[in-house]
């Protein structure tokens, strides 16, 4: 566990020293501040639109941070050859995968915390109320979403040759699943065989990332998601993350590393 923690600390240090996160945070802040300063159509409920915009930016920024950071972890270790002195120590490839995953996930968690604090300040200053539990639920479920995404991207990083192609494919796949995944069963009903079966299988195989997205509930103040549902969603996310990490380990384990 020491090794996994040490590796994850390196990932976090790299992320905050690379400054990618600061750029996205400043951009999110700027866009939200500019949008918030405008008074569209003299609408008193501008805070709601602001919250919606801010949440969308948080989701997109966090997604890009997670994909960008995790796509380069293992390829950069190989390209910069830092993997050699590392694996020459009593470190297994499984620990490398786990360390990279936890590092990226914890770093994304810290980024999310900052983003949600900012959201709290923005909405609090407009609406004079602080729906802390609602924000906490949204943050937690988004963090679980990011765990699945990070594990998926890590798997992609040992399958695809270039980090950029992996990042592009993963962003498209994640946005596709997130936006369209829950329509697959409805599409399947209208299609002939064997496409129908294929779409049904796909519907049940893909991780339903849209389940973690409770932006509408936060924006329109529809109350909290039942805690039991939150727990089940966490288990669902954990299962997919473990599955992707296992696949990453299987691919990475046998990969020869020639200097």
């Amino acid at each position: 566990m020491n090794t996994v923690l040490a590796l994850s600390q390196i990932v976090i240090k790299e992320l905050y020293r690379r400054k990618d996160f600061y750029v996205l945070f400043v951009l999110t802040g700027l866009i939200t501040a500019v949008a918030g300063s405008a008074n569209f159509f003299n609408d008193d409920k501008i805070a709601r639109y602001l919250k919606e915009l801010c949440l969308l930016l948080i989701w997109l920024s966090a997604l890009f941070i997670a994909v960008g950071a995790s796509a380069r972890q293992i390829p950069a270790e190989r390209e910069n050859r830092t993997i050699f002195p590392l694996l020459a120590k009593p470190v297994t490839r499984g620990q490398v995968v786990a360390g990279k995953f936890f590092g990226c996930w914890l770093a994304c968690g810290l980024a999310l915390l900052m983003f949600y604090l900012f959201l709290g300040v923005v909405t609090g200053s407009r609406e004079r109320e602080w729906p802390v539990m609602s924000f906490l639920q949204a943050l937690w479920l988004q963090w679980v979403f990011l765990a699945v995404v990070i594990a998926m991207v890590l798997w992609g990083s040992v399958v695809f040759a270039a980090p950029s192609s992996n990042a592009t494919i993963c962003v498209i796949a994640v946005i596709g699943i997130w936006g369209l995944g829950h329509y697959l069963n409805r599409v399947a009903v209208q299609e002939p065989e064997p496409l129908r079966s294929f779409l049904y299988v796909l519907y049940f195989v893909i991780p339903h990332l849209e389940w973690f997205d409770i932006r509408d509930m936060v924006t329109h103040e529809r109350g909290l998601v039942p805690w039991w549902d939150c727990f089940l969603a966490t288990l669902y996310g954990a299962a997919y993350s473990i599955l992707f990490l296992f696949a990453t380990w299987v691919f990475f384990r046998r990969k020869p590393l020639s200097q």
Partner: protein
């Protein structure tokens, strides 16, 4: 007595496909048998492409043997625990450039599970040994090549290893840097440590090594004590090397 390094009938074939399957492309090591005993400084020689680095890669677990076996301290190299008592210095410096020297050593100390108090003491000792005390808080990316090689040596020694594997440790270093590395190897030898290193600097090998092995096209061509080989071939180590690999003048 268990040998520190024990290689038996090692054969390594590089294959085309990334997963290690597919058609054969190159035979890198062919039927290598080698034993390194405790306290020895062992020179691993051969022209470029002879299979030295591949053999080291097998010992370090980077590459799997096609057949045969390799063990460190009697433990199969496939087991990560086999690397608990070794230090490794790669030919070129490959470290996290965004870390400072101190952070890098602290990271590797954590990987070895060293307690914090011991880590602090060890880092101080090593910084002094490699003469980087002044630069310990600077990011590695600001280091010169010689300084990077020295921090490499420090990371290889962080766990006070019983076996040091050095891949061309003096490559690209100035005469002062080379002398420093030689001094460190000799100090380790006097402490009873085992050193296994590859080098093209045959004069240096002759000075520090007890035994050498000469590899050519993946096969072991000669092995023995340096003085015995020199006596057998009636020439210096460089001439021995050239004769063994079949090089003919003109």
């Amino acid at each position: 007595m268990t040998p520190i390094v024990d290689i038996k009938d090692l054969r390594v074939e590089y294959r085309q496909n990334a997963l290690g399957r597919g058609r054969k492309v190159k035979l890198a090591v062919d039927g290598l048998n080698l034993v390194v005993n405790q306290g020895e400084v062992f020179g691993f020689l051969g022209p470029n492409g002879a299979g030295k680095t591949t053999t080291m890669n097998v010992l370090l677990g980077f590459v799997n043997a096609t057949s045969g076996s390799a063990s460190l301290f009697g433990v199969n190299v496939a087991e990560p625990i086999a690397r608990q008592r070794i230090g490794y210095l790669p030919e070129l410096t490959y470290y996290y450039k965004f870390l400072t020297a101190e952070e890098l050593l602290r990271f590797y100390a954590k990987v070895f599970g060293l307690p914090r108090s011991e880590t602090d003491k060890r880092i101080d000792e090593l910084m002094k040994l490699v003469e980087l005390e002044e630069a310990r808080k600077r990011p590695i990316k600001s280091y010169s090549k010689g300084m990077q090689q020295r921090i490499g040596l420090a990371q290889a020694l962080i766990n006070n290893p019983d076996l040091l594997i050095l891949d061309e440790p003096t490559s690209g270093l100035d005469p002062l840097g080379r002398m420093k590395v030689r001094e460190i190897i000799q100090r380790l030898k006097s402490d009873g440590k085992t050193v296994f290193f590859s080098s093209h600097e045959l004069g240096e090998v002759e000075t520090v090594c007890d035994r050498v092995a000469i590899l050519h096209q993946g096969m072991l061509m000669a092995e023995g004590r340096v003085d015995e080989l020199v006596q057998k071939y009636q020439s210096n180590l460089e001439q021995v090397f050239l004769k063994v690999i079949g090089y003919q003048h003109g």
